[in-house]
């Protein structure tokens, strides 16, 4: 039987606010346990929440970026359950009236095609703390620093049909939130995590199969692997005449498998009801319009502009618009050198290669966009040749100069185009290479083209790479042929 995979994602994005969603405690990562858990975060008797404006603004910006409707009124509800990392015994979330309504996200697949994925809604909620299971005499330690960090939970419709699509969707969300600057998108620190709902159904069947929810997957790669495993598991189960159980599963990256979370007790009943400590959030149109006007250009728009206005290929446009940092870097290089294609080649070639080797993100590139742009400009105006350009780049990477011009000057890499000077070097090389000249002379004329390489190399070496290679070639051919 042919099977179709149906996937929906719930992506939790930690918003990059300074303080927590309902308290004035810091959200900074990595502090000593419980030093950033204030009275409100700890749920001490009598404390009350007050909503952070930045969390609201960030959620609305996301909504605008995915062309979602922004309801005028949204309401916080309490989701009631007991867990040690949940200090109040309820999570303040939005069940019935989320801050962001239905929208859509465009994803780009490997073959360059695009697909629209519907977002059901996105809502604000508070993050929980962390349980640490290392040995405290067989006890678990609870750190509530993270409790109260604002989260935007983005719930997709079950529109995704493969692990690759799911990963592409997650990347698209990542790119939107980092473009907007509403999250650092750092998956290793848990700034973005997702729950994956997976089911399979026979191709052509309308009704969805029973789904399993894989909790807390925290990397693009794991999303793909977890889904791949889970799909295989479900198909195998069904083909063996079994049934998929609706349950929550965990992905174990070490074993590359998902496994059922032991159900701790009976099915949960979260008893959602409107949080009486918080009032309805009412967004007036002027506020939303202001946020809309200040929205930065988003990845999809940028990609389209790179293709249409800058004439880049779909592939290049996709790569260069994937992250806000990459796009900003590329555009600065392009502005400085004045040539989008050259800028694209350098950013994706020499620069990306070096960044990958060192494992650096582009915002930490030792070569500034201005310096790279200038370097490209110097190639384009023939100040240096391509070979010297690589030397200049390496020197800039190593911090041997602040600008391309400075390096060119210091290393004397300026291209020699004075034919008198080149001729003098050629004469010297010819004089120093009698054997090679003799071979050249004795060779059949159609073999000579290959043999000229030796002389070019010697001249370039004599010029320390600065001679214009085209000129060297032309003059050498002239002089050697004159000897024949």
């Amino acid at each position: 039987m042919q099977w179709e995979t149906v996937i929906g994602l719930e992506v939790h994005v930690q918003l990059a606010t300074r303080s927590k969603i309902f308290s004035g405690a810091s959200t900074a990562f990595g502090a000593e346990p419980n030093t950033q858990a204030c009275a409100v975060d700890l749920g001490l008797p009598g404390v009350l929440p007050v909503l952070n404006e930045a969390a609201v603004a960030m959620a609305v910006q996301f909504g605008l970026a995915i062309h979602a409707e922004i309801p005028e009124v949204s309401v916080f509800d309490r989701k009631n359950y007991f867990y040690p990392d949940l200090p109040k015994g309820y999570q303040t979330s939005q069940m019935y009236h989320p801050i962001v309504g239905a929208g859509e996200v465009e994803i780009t697949l490997d073959d360059g095609s695009t697909k629209r994925v519907r977002v059901h809604h996105a809502h604000l909620e508070e993050d929980a703390g962390k349980s640490l299971h290392e040995d405290f005499h067989g006890m678990t330690g609870v750190d509530l620093n993270r409790a109260g960090t604002p989260l935007l939970e983005i719930v997709s419709e079950p529109d995704l049909r493969s692990a690759k699509e799911a990963a592409a969707y997650l990347k698209a969300i990542h790119s939107i939130v980092t473009y907007l600057g509403i999250s650092d998108g750092n998956m290793a620190e848990g700034s973005m995590r997702c729950d994956v709902n997976v089911s399979v159904r026979p191709v052509g069947q309308e009704a969805f199969g029973t789904r399993a929810e894989i909790k807390n997957v925290n990397s693009f790669r794991f999303v793909e692997r977890a889904i791949a495993f889970e799909v295989e598991r479900q198909i195998e189960l069904l083909e063996d005449g079994g049934q998929v159980v609706q349950e929550t599963r965990l992905f174990d990256p070490d074993r590359d498998e998902t496994r059922s979370m032991r159900t701790k007790e009976e099915a949960n009943d979260y008893r959602y009801f409107p949080c009486p400590d918080l009032l309805p959030v009412v967004l007036d149109r002027a506020y939303v319009d202001h946020l809309r006007e200040t929205l930065p250009e988003l990845p999809a728009d940028k990609r389209a502009r790179f293709e249409k206005e800058l004439g880049l290929s779909a592939y290049d446009a996709g790569v260069l618009s994937a992250s806000r940092e990459m796009a900003e870097y590329f555009e600065r290089v392009k502005d400085v050198c004045g040539d989008a294609k050259q800028a694209a080649n350098w950013v994706q070639g020499e620069l990306s290669g070096a960044l990958n080797r060192e494992g650096l993100p582009i915002q930490h590139s030792p070569v500034s966009a201005e310096a790279l742009g200038e370097l490209i400009a110097r190639v384009m105006d023939d100040t240096i040749n391509g070979k010297a350009a690589k030397q200049v780049f390496q020197a800039l990477w190593n911090g041997e100069g602040a600008s391309a011009d400075e390096v060119i000057e210091a290393k004397g890499l300026k291209q020699v185009t004075d034919s008198g000077a080149i001729e003098a070097m050629i004469d010297q090389v010819i004089a120093d290479s009698p054997a090679q000249v003799a071979q050249y002379r004795d060779a059949e004329p159609d073999k000579r083209g290959k043999m000229i390489g030796y002389f070019v190399g010697q001249v370039m070496k004599a010029s320390r790479g600065t001679a214009n290679p085209q000129q060297v070639n032309a003059l050498l051919k002239e002089k050697l042929d004159a000897l024949c």
Partner: protein, 486 residues
């Protein structure tokens, strides 16, 4: 000294008749001597009180004393008080020393008042008799066989017994007004949002409101001025200016339109209580007010609606008591569930558990619409009843409770206990202000006249109550215990 009102004490302190320290020492001695039997205090903070009194005396000596400087009061044990046990009348929090001050406490301290300690209460403010306290019941100073009312029973009893001139209470369904009525003192429940709830241990968040309990409306006016006002830490507190509540106290009542809700004079009302209330209304007529009957047609749905909404909120508010970060924790928990279930079973009393169970049940899947949503719809209808009535009249008057204080142990059945709050509970659902003032006796037991106003009409209520107290002397009557010299 202990017989004076706050206003009289302020004058005496200013005149140098005695110091705040002398006053404080005197009251602490009375508490020491008389409260053993009364049980109105859970914690007496003598040391902090004397230090605060000394500071107030020093401020006065330096000519820097404000109007409330050096005046003693007590706090219901529901207000978080830094460095002081704050138990909410529960075993759950019997070991909880609050690490911060409630906004009300902060403001009272800033005004220079001297807190003598924390008063007894029904556990987590759930009760109408103060019999649901982990620290034992409080006796009514007028009659030791009667309850003082609840849940702010300790505050009411302490004021009535002359242990302290004023105390802070909270009112979720009548918990200021009913004990004030039972103990023959004046108690004001402000408009929801008028006083910050920050630091007040929550029972039902959309209903809870703190207010003053004292001997006179004038004293309540002074205290309300000190505690009212917007608080950035409470999203539900209202950003609205705080008037000088003493300014309008003397305004004449000529032309005042009083409405008597038909539903507040029906079945179940003790005839002697009714007689006292009708007598009080006559006093108002003599002061130039006109009286008409009005209707609040949804009155009888108030208790059912309340017993959905309040327990639902409570069941969630009380989930934080899990034995992890503060409060009672059972011995040797076997696992996480055992830690939760035993800590909470041991830490909470019976009435609290009952309400947690009701709230949990009514919020659970399949019941939410029939109970919670329905109750909230009814809540709107109840509020509308009042808003309609206030189109016709300025204030509403009626009894604070259908009976005078009942006997200790008389209401064993929870439902019959709940029905005691028939005249007070709708006010909380509607978020309105209300005040109870002494208006007579049934035998030895006081009767309270309840006066209700529209949202933020506290100044008007205090004015109406004050003029009554100028025309009558019910508020000057003292139980024998208050006359006892120490």
């Amino acid at each position: 000294m202990h017989d004076k009102t706050l206003s009289e004490l302020a004058v005496a302190l200013e005149a140098g008749e005695f110091s705040s320290r002398e006053l404080t020492e005197h009251l602490l001695a009375r508490i020491e001597r008389l409260d053993g039997d009364l049980n109105s205090f859970i914690t007496v903070t003598a040391e902090q009180a004397l230090a605060a009194a000394d500071a107030a005396d020093a401020a006065r000596a330096a000519g820097k004393a404000g109007p409330l400087d050096g005046l003693p009061l007590a706090l219901k044990d529901i207000f978080c008080t830094r460095g002081v046990k704050t138990s909410a009348g529960s075993r759950m929090l019997d070991n909880f020393v609050a690490p911060y001050d409630a906004t009300v406490v902060e403001r009272l301290k800033a005004a220079g008042t001297v807190s003598l300690g924390k008063t007894n209460m029904d556990e987590f403010a759930m009760g109408s008799s103060n019999e649901n306290s982990f620290h034992g019941p409080v006796k009514n100073p007028w009659d030791p066989t009667a309850v003082p009312g609840g849940s702010s029973g300790g505050s009411a009893a302490a004021v009535a017994a002359g242990l302290v001139p004023a105390a802070m209470g909270t009112d979720t369904g009548g918990s200021i007004r009913q004990p004030a009525a039972f103990c023959g003192i004046t108690g004001l429940k402000p408009t929801y949002g008028r006083v910050s709830r920050y630091g007040i241990i929550a029972y039902a968040s959309s209903l809870d409101q703190a207010g003053p309990m004292a001997r006179t409306a004038e004293d309540c006016a002074r205290l309300l001025g000190a505690i009212a006002g917007h608080d950035l830490r409470d999203s539900t507190s209202v950003a609205r200016g705080v008037p000088d509540y003493t300014e309008e106290l003397e305004a004449p009542l000529t032309g005042l339109k009083i409405g008597l809700p038909r539903e507040y004079f029906g079945d179940g009302l003790d005839p002697e209580v009714e007689a006292a209330v009708r007598e009080a209304v006559k006093v108002y007529e003599s002061l130039g007010a006109s009286v008409s009957e009005v209707s609040l047609p949804h009155t009888h749905y108030a208790i059912p609606a309340y017993y959905v909404i309040a327990p639902a909120e409570a069941s969630s508010n009380l989930s934080r008591y899990d034995g992890v970060r503060f409060g009672h924790r059972c011995d040797n928990p076997q696992d996480l569930i055992d830690l939760y279930e035993r800590s909470r079973a041991e830490g909470f009393g019976e009435e609290v558990k009952r309400r947690i169970l009701i709230g949990t049940h009514t919020l659970s899947e399949g019941f939410f619409d029939a109970y919670y949503k329905k109750a909230q719809q009814v809540r709107r209808l109840i509020r509308q009843d009042f808003l309609d009535a206030f189109e016709e009249v300025d204030v509403l008057m009626g009894p604070a409770s259908p009976t005078p204080a009942f006997d200790l142990g008389a209401n064993k059945d929870p439902v019959s206990m709940y029905l005691q709050d028939i005249y007070t509970i709708a006010v909380n659902l509607a978020g309105l202000p209300g005040i109870s003032v002494p208006a007579g006796f049934v035998g030895r037991r006081p009767v309270g006249l309840q006066i209700l106003g529209t949202h933020f009409a506290e100044a008007r209520l205090l004015n109406v109550a004050h003029r009554f107290q100028q025309a009558t002397d019910w508020h000057r009557r003292r139980p024998a215990i208050a006359e006892e010299n120490v």
